[in-house]
């Protein structure tokens, strides 16, 4: 009996080949075990239990046709083949569309049905699939997905590799890297599931499930890979549908279902691998020799029983002698000026991926999707109408465009919502954060729609009053609220929130001295579990005690209030709502410990426009009800939508100065705008339009190979990466970046203009 086993990599993210060989050696001590590899740099080839080696050239050099012929000859001669590599298993399935009795690997039809992330074949298993989105969607939608998942997301490659992308810039960098490595845009983002990882390993032959075991990770490597685990039987509620699934798939070979069990006990399926896992021999140690069961199923030759030595296994690091016939190759020279040796994928697996894409681009496409996303962002009608209202012959670019009807609609919607949510007991009112964009047209819209003016400086308060706000419609907030001196509004302001205990002491003194008068005086709480520099901290019992003592010092002839703020687009929408509930609990504690009832609650902010405006009222209505239940003395809730008002209210028009075409369709287009006008480029995607010079038609930009370079002589002045300019675009054409009315506008700066 001769058995070929591939996948002998034994680094930090090992392949199962050596474990399979150890298990087969135990089950079939007389079999000839041939280790197959595609690099002599793979340390597993030196494992003493390998009887013979078949070392091929790396995949990037290998002629797949002739190698395929050799594999066929080996199988025809009676050898069996167990693949330890996903990509090799795919290639073999493609090579043997009708299978081969000695190929102990799954057929292509089965592989298509376990394509991640959906793993369609597993629908009857008691598992859920973590939510995901294809990166073929527009950047606008991908950003929305990340916000919805609280930025706890993984960007995953089609076969291997995953990167945590906790921010937009990290996502863009990881996407560029994975796309390059795996030669495909077909990546996906998947929501993180917190819990403990466990797996089910199976062995099957021609649709018959020969055996399966469950493994819980008990120790992991820094990359999260198994270092130790415990083995147990697969429970019936999993085993029965698993048996059905194997039958339906006509599965042959090993397999692994990788899962996470959450705190409530629910299993979440991350992926199904078409091979045995690297911990395969751990199960053999526990008395479950699944590779031997596979060979037994295929040949009918009974394997030696596997004694159960322990229910638990762990790994150790071993030094083994190097085989004389395969001396160690030298380390590659480090790239000049770089640190370390580039050693990833020594067998050239990424090249195999590239070759498979070329030979069979549809290999991994489970079912052709007629609704596959086109990657183009949806542009609201009001945007188009507002942009069309400009005569661009008169527009000197770069220039911000005020989106008149869009802005009016946003403020009215917020105003209507506040009215709907208000009751006789509790008034809900919006606060316009002047800093998001101090444009007078927006401040006026805020005034006309019943907003309060939320100011972080006296200069902002002055601006609000100049536009028409009364003093009693002004809220002062933040650490710089007393600056500049001498500009405090005359008359009683609506609310003042202290940013620190020192600020509170100053406020008390100012109130006593008559320097300021406010209907409400309160504190801003610092979020205790999310890093923030603002507000009074709560992070230790001692600071909390100081806060309680300080609140008791506030004068009793003003009403008390509490403010908290965290940008929901940074922490994620669900996380923000959790923070909201958490803050209400702190408020309730403060109220109980100080004896000061909370009359006003001011909560913000930093809402991404779609999260604020697209949502129906239900979450906000629930929030109001929760406030009423937990803090029944609250009479006013001030809601700060932040940039949700300003961001869509302006766009930036720019013109293309030059188009530079490079190799492999890579294009650099220089524009007359820059990061001086788009300082938020790194933090979120902008919806972009190109206005055709001839027809005036507006066309959204999708993803492509063009980088839009700013006009500045600054290396990082890239205002958009990987976009697709429509056919026929040329120098002088107009581009419009929407969603530029928030901090892009208010934080833009003069640079490179002489």
């Amino acid at each position: 009996m001769k058995i070929f086993v591939s996948g002998l990599y034994c680094g930090g993210n090992p392949q199962p080949g050596v474990g399979i060989i150890r298990s087969l050696g135990q089950g079939y001590p007389d079999a000839t075990l041939v280790g197959v590899e595609y690099s002599n740099r793979i340390s597993g080839i030196h494992w003493e239990g390998i009887d013979d080696l078949w070392i091929q050239r790396p995949w990037d050099e290998l002629d797949l046709d002739s190698h395929g012929e050799q594999v066929k000859e080996a199988l025809d001669a009676g050898g069996m083949w167990i693949s330890g590599s996903d990509l090799e298993a795919m290639w073999l399935a493609d090579l043997f569309p009708d299978g081969h009795p000695n190929l102990l690997a799954p057929p292509m039809g089965a592989l298509k049905r376990i394509t991640k992330p959906a793993v369609e074949a597993a629908r009857e298993l008691p598992v859920k699939i973590p939510t995901y989105i294809s990166t073929e969607n527009s950047d606008w939608e991908l950003h929305a997905f990340c916000r919805a998942q609280n930025w706890r997301v993984w960007l995953k490659g089609p076969y291997y590799d995953a990167a945590r992308t906790p921010s937009w810039d990290s996502f863009e960098a990881a996407r560029a890297a994975l796309t390059k490595v795996w030669s495909t845009q077909r990546l996906f983002l998947q929501g993180h599931v917190s819990g403990y990882e466990e797996s089910v390993m199976l062995s099957a032959y021609k649709g018959e499930l020969l055996g399966a075991v469950s493994m819980r990770k008990r120790d992991i490597t820094p990359e999260g890979k198994t270092w130790a685990g415990d083995i147990s039987e697969v429970p019936n509620e999993f085993m029965i549908p698993l048996r059905r699934m194997v039958k339906e798939l006509n599965w042959t070979g090993g397999g692994e279902l990788e899962m996470v069990r959450d705190a409530g006990g629910q299993l979440w399926l991350l992926e199904m691998n078409p091979r045995f896992p690297a911990w395969v021999h751990g199960a053999t140690i526990a008395g479950h020799n699944l590779p031997a069961l596979l060979v037994q199923g295929a040949t009918g030759t009974k394997s030696k029983p596997a004694p159960a030595l322990s229910e638990e296994f762990t790994r150790v690091v071993l030094e083994v002698p190097v085989r004389d016939e395969y001396p160690l190759p030298p380390l590659p020279e480090p790239y000049a000026g770089a640190i370390g040796h580039s050693m990833k994928h020594p067998s050239g697996l990424t090249s195999l991926a590239k070759k498979l894409h070329k030979t069979n681009p549809e290999m991994l496409e489970a079912v052709p999707d007629p609704d596959a996303p086109d990657g183009l962002p949806r542009i609201p009608d009001s945007f188009v109408a507002d942009i069309d209202s400009y005569d661009f012959a008169e527009v000197q670019t770069p220039q911000f465009l005020f989106m008149d009807s869009t802005a009016a609609g946003l403020f009215k919607r917020a105003s209507d919502r506040a009215h709907r949510l208000s009751t006789n007991e509790v008034q809900v009112v919006s606060g316009y954060s002047i800093k998001t964009n101090p444009d007078e047209r927006l401040i006026k819209l805020a005034l006309d729609n019943g907003f309060l003016a939320e100011c972080i400086s006296l200069a902002e308060a002055q601006k609000a009053i100049e536009v028409g706000f009364r003093a009693d419609q002004v809220i002062l907030n933040g650490p710089g609220k007393w600056w500049p001196e001498g500009m405090m509004p005359k008359g009683r302001i609506h609310a003042l929130f202290c940013d620190s205990i020192a600020d509170l002491n100053r406020t008390v003194a100012a109130l006593e001295a008559g320097e300021v008068s406010s209907r409400h005086v309160g504190i801003r709480l610092r979020t205790p579990n999310i890093v923030s520099r603002f507000g009074i901290p709560l992070d230790s019992p001692e600071t909390f005690r100081k806060l309680v003592d300080a609140v008791k010092r506030l004068p009793t002839d003003t009403k008390f209030g509490i403010h908290f703020h965290m940008a929901s687009d940074r922490v994620g929408v669900a996380q923000w709502w959790h923070l909201f509930e958490s803050m209400l609990k702190w408020c309730r504690s403060i109220q109980a410990l100080t004896g000061r009832t909370i009359a006003i609650l001011d909560m913000g902010g930093g809402w991404f426009p779609d999260d604020w405006h697209a949502d129906d009222d239900s979450k906000f209505a629930h929030a109001v009800e929760t406030v009423k239940a937990m803090l029944p003395e609250v009479r006013q809730i001030v809601s700060e939508p932040g940039k949700a008002m300003a961001q869509p209210s302006m766009a930036l028009a720019m013109r293309i100065l030059e188009i530079q075409e490079h190799e492999e369709d890579y294009v650099e287009a220089v524009v007359d705008a820059s990061i001086a006008e788009l300082p938020m480029y790194f933090f979120y995607p902008h919806r972009m339009l190109r206005k055709c010079g001839k027809t005036g038609e507006l066309t959204p930009l999708g993803r492509g190979k063009t980088h839009l370079m700013g006009r500045l002589c600054m290396e990082h002045d890239v205002v958009a990466a990987n976009v697709q300019l429509p056919e026929g675009t040329r120098a002088g054409d107009l581009l419009i970046f929407c969603d530029a009315g928030g901090y892009d506008r208010s934080m833009s700066y003069v640079f490179g203009r002489g």
Binding site: N529, L538, V548, H578
Partner: protein, 218 residues
């Protein structure tokens, strides 16, 4: 727990207890209870634990372990009696204080939790090290025996009659598959009203644990 009370029980138990959980001395031990000064200092401490625990959940599952407590408070000797305002301001607290804080957190979340006592097996060397540390900390070493230790944690009702056992001073859930050896759980007792458990007691892995009685593992 109060040292005097514990030592008094030791005298009593060594004479009267039979079939005790590995060591007779812990048969009737009460779980540790933080004292309250009856003043604002302890009110503030208690409110802080509850509000901070909810904040630390980050939107996660209510059945998650309050890992942040172990991150904030190292495990080590505590001198009893210990008040709320003292415990929360310590850098190091023992398993009884850990369990008391975790219980407060679980209850504030609205999940059903119980105090739990464990007996674990360790080596004489480990126990010797702990004895030295506790004596140097002027804390009672009543929780140490020759090869077993007394330990405290929490039981969390996870659904139906199933419980999970939280070892707060280790920051992990106790593995319901126990096979003996170093660090293994030898016995557990869960304090609960009889009405809170089903007729067969609580289910923990393959074990059935009757409330308020020591249950021997393995």
């Amino acid at each position: 727990m109060y040292l005097a009370a514990a030592e008094q029980r030791l005298d009593l138990l060594e004479k009267e207890t039979d079939g005790a959980p590995c060591s007779a001395r812990w048969e009737e031990f009460p779980f540790s209870v933080l004292s309250h000064h009856g003043e604002a200092c302890c009110d503030i401490a208690r409110e802080w634990v509850k509000a901070m625990d909810y904040a630390q959940l980050n939107g996660g599952d209510l059945l998650s372990g309050p890992r942040w407590l172990r991150q904030r408070y190292e495990w080590g000797p505590s001198v009893w009696p210990l008040h709320w305002c003292e415990a929360v301001n310590e850098k190091v607290i023992d398993c009884g204080a850990h369990a008391a804080l975790a219980h407060e957190a679980f209850e504030a979340r609205g999940v059903t939790a119980f105090r739990a006592q464990f007996v674990q097996s360790y080596s004489p060397e480990a126990i010797g090290q702990w004895r030295t540390k506790w004596v140097e900390g002027e804390a009672s070493d009543h929780w140490l025996d020759d090869e077993f230790i007394y330990h405290e944690g929490n039981a969390l009702l996870a659904g139906g009659d199933e419980v999970k056992l939280w070892d707060g001073s280790a920051g992990c859930w106790v593995n319901p598959r126990q096979s003996g050896g170093y660090g293994s759980l030898m016995a557990v007792r869960i304090f609960a009203d009889e009405a809170q458990a089903s007729a067969g007691g609580f289910r923990w892995g393959l074990h059935r644990i009757a409330p308020n009685h020591w249950h021997h593992i393995g």
